[in-house]
Symmetry: C2
Subunit: 397 residues, 2 copies
């Protein structure tokens, strides 16, 4: 464990599990609960590092699998590491990419040894082991690395989940080879759709004493109710004094529900992907900039929003024009807005946890437009999947 | 003529024709000689207004034809005009779009009345008259509007050029209907490949006393020698105390040669278009970021460059990665660099004119890599054409 890495819970919600804390990393602090924008290919699409700071980002995510294929992890190491490469001075977390490989590569084959697959770029045959995943991430140099894991899409049989769990020795193997002192390696709780397997997985990982724990394989088609049950099964076992990161979650409502279940970190392509398609989060609900109602609307996306796009006075009419004209400036301006919405939601969540009225505040929001987001209804098969390229599965780019 | 519009020549090059001056517009000053970045659809592709300021832009160009089709000139007027619409506080010049229609729309038909054509967006039949072109631009509200003109591609017969010249009464008609006091309407010198027709055109326009004059129909396939001869033919007739704008010019070398021939304003898609394709201007010559030599190059594009991209420490290796990965952040970072290169070249030209050593400075640059740009050799059929969408003709997007 790195000396520079620590986690403290400052305040917990009376009568609830929501908690606010601070993660210290070699590249600075992260206030939790935190949302991490997804920068799969060493860029949060359309944004530069100053943009990320302007919307309140403290930590971002990149994808080790993608970067290992292009431009190459060792190449990035020779260029001074991922921070220097992309000029982002804050903390970075890299996903190992196991998820992308397993869930979406039709040719990926999982054995006890690792994952055999073909590169999506040039078809080259490759083999990703837990050891190689650590090696790649040590080369890239993020503050937080993830063990290689094998998440399962829903629905799946119990036997599949047990098989995957047996491979939790991937976590041991990862832990054994990880050396980099300025990098923390997180374990990932699996167990599929089965709370008892989730508890078993969490217990196994806990015994390995990771500096942080992710909960993987959620938001993959299960009901919102089941997400909650499975998340609880994991967090009830995991140590209180370590950060919990829920991978691939989610809608704004998902985040609030996750925070209420004692999650500390989140990532999802939803705000950025939605922005590039003209779908914008506002306090009054989600809007599509393609709507003809906006064609002469001089108002900003959200009157109360302090993001660079709304503060800059860019109107709905202008954003609609840029979107229709295929101008990438529109993608950037809308990405700034949506990411700011996510960061601001988490910032307010942290404040309400500290003040002690998180539950009341969150319940009120969930009863409003934010709880009615098309991707957000309980029982739906919604929830965005992250594809092999960090994109939402089933949708072209 | 607007009270807010004026032009002054401060300094001229001893023993040469290069001149430095200042254009005052309702939205602020423009130091000349000036380069105008092309923002066809009310955005200089990938950049926001702060980006434009950061690279030294004082005035930008938009396209009245495009904006009249989408989102509509009257719509932009209802939204407060083009400045408010795109949040650019500085001066704007709009091109009427005659060029795009005539040279590239296969269905455009030119009569004495105007140009009949089909919309490239939905195929609707439309008719653009000189009067309507003024009306559109009065609705859009740029500081400088252009009369509708009919440029000719090279080569062309003298009879064609004479025909087009006869339609110079389009300039009279435009002048007659133009009313907007906070907008200046520029005439456009035509005359094709024939110096005597260029002089005749310039004389006709001069008698109409426009507040500024463009020289159109250059950089369309003629030799660099002919460009110079035709430019001289126009500028020798045009009044000294009015700005001269050479439309669609050009390479960095073209700009220096244009400045030496007493031109004051330029526009071209070259720096922005090149940037999006990974072609970068440097003091050591143009480079392609796709070159494998840059794959581990930690240096900025140009060590001596003060643009946001180079100053920000983004390496050639990172830009190459973004370009190969299809990430639009790369397009933006490279557009910032190239536009800064153009603006900086003109800034230095203005300084050297003021100091009095422009010719020596320019000759030295032209003898170096800048004079050897692939699009820049004398006698070549190079020179970028601007297509109907403000793009370079003959190249897909």
């Amino acid at each position: 464990m790195s000396g520079a890495f620590s986690f403290q819970v400052f305040s917990a919600q009376p009568g609830g599990k929501a908690r606010a804390g601070r993660l210290e990393t070699p590249h600075g602090p992260v206030d939790t609960p935190a949302f991490m924008a997804v920068g799969t290919q060493a860029t949060v699409k359309t944004l530069d590092p100053d943009d990320l700071l302007a919307v309140g980002s403290q930590i971002i995510l990149a994808n080790a699998y993608h970067l290992s294929l292009r431009p190459g992890a060792e190449r990035i190491a020779r260029l001074g590491g991922l921070h220097a490469f992309m000029r982002w001075k804050g903390p970075i977390l890299t996903d190992s990419g196991g998820y992308q490989l397993v869930s979406l590569a039709p040719l990926a084959k999982v054995t006890n040894e690792g994952i055999a697959f073909q590169s999506h770029l040039d078809g080259a045959r490759m083999h990703l082991t837990p050891e190689r995943a650590v090696e790649i991430q040590e080369a890239l140099g993020p503050d937080i690395a993830m063990v290689l894991d094998e998440p399962l899409g829903f629905p799946h049989a119990r036997a599949e989940a047990e098989d995957a769990l047996r491979r939790t020795n991937w976590a041991d193997r990862s832990r054994d080879v990880h050396r980099r002192p300025d990098q923390s390696l997180f374990g990932i709780v699996q167990g599929g759709a089965f709370p008892d397997l989730r508890r078993e997985s969490a217990n196994q990982l806990k015994s390995l004493d990771f500096p942080g724990y992710a909960i993987g394989g959620l938001c993959l088609g299960e009901t919102k109710h089941d997400t909650g049950v499975l998340l609880d099964a994991a967090t009830e076992v995991l140590p209180e004094d370590k950060p919990r990161y829920v991978m691939g979650m989610g809608t704004p409502a998902d985040l609030l529900r996750g925070v209420a279940r004692a999650a500390d970190m989140f990532d999802c392509v939803m705000p950025t992907r939605h922005a590039r398609r003209g779908n914008l989060f506002t306090r009054a609900g989600r809007i599509s900039i393609k709507n003809a109602a906006f064609e002469e609307d001089p108002a900003p996306v959200d009157e109360d929003c302090a993001c660079p796009t709304c503060r800059g006075g860019f109107s709905r009419a202008y954003l609609r024009h840029l979107h229709r004209a295929g101008e990438t400036l529109g993608q950037r301006l809308m990405t700034l807005h949506n990411l700011h919405f996510y960061q601001d939601l988490l910032r307010r969540a942290r404040e309400h946890i500290r003040v002690g009225d998180f539950t009341a505040w969150s319940d009120k929001l969930l009863a409003g437009p934010l709880g009615k987001d098309p991707e957000g209804p309980p029982g739906g098969a919604g929830g965005f999947r992250r594809g092999r390229d960090g994109k939402i599965a089933g949708e072209g780019n």
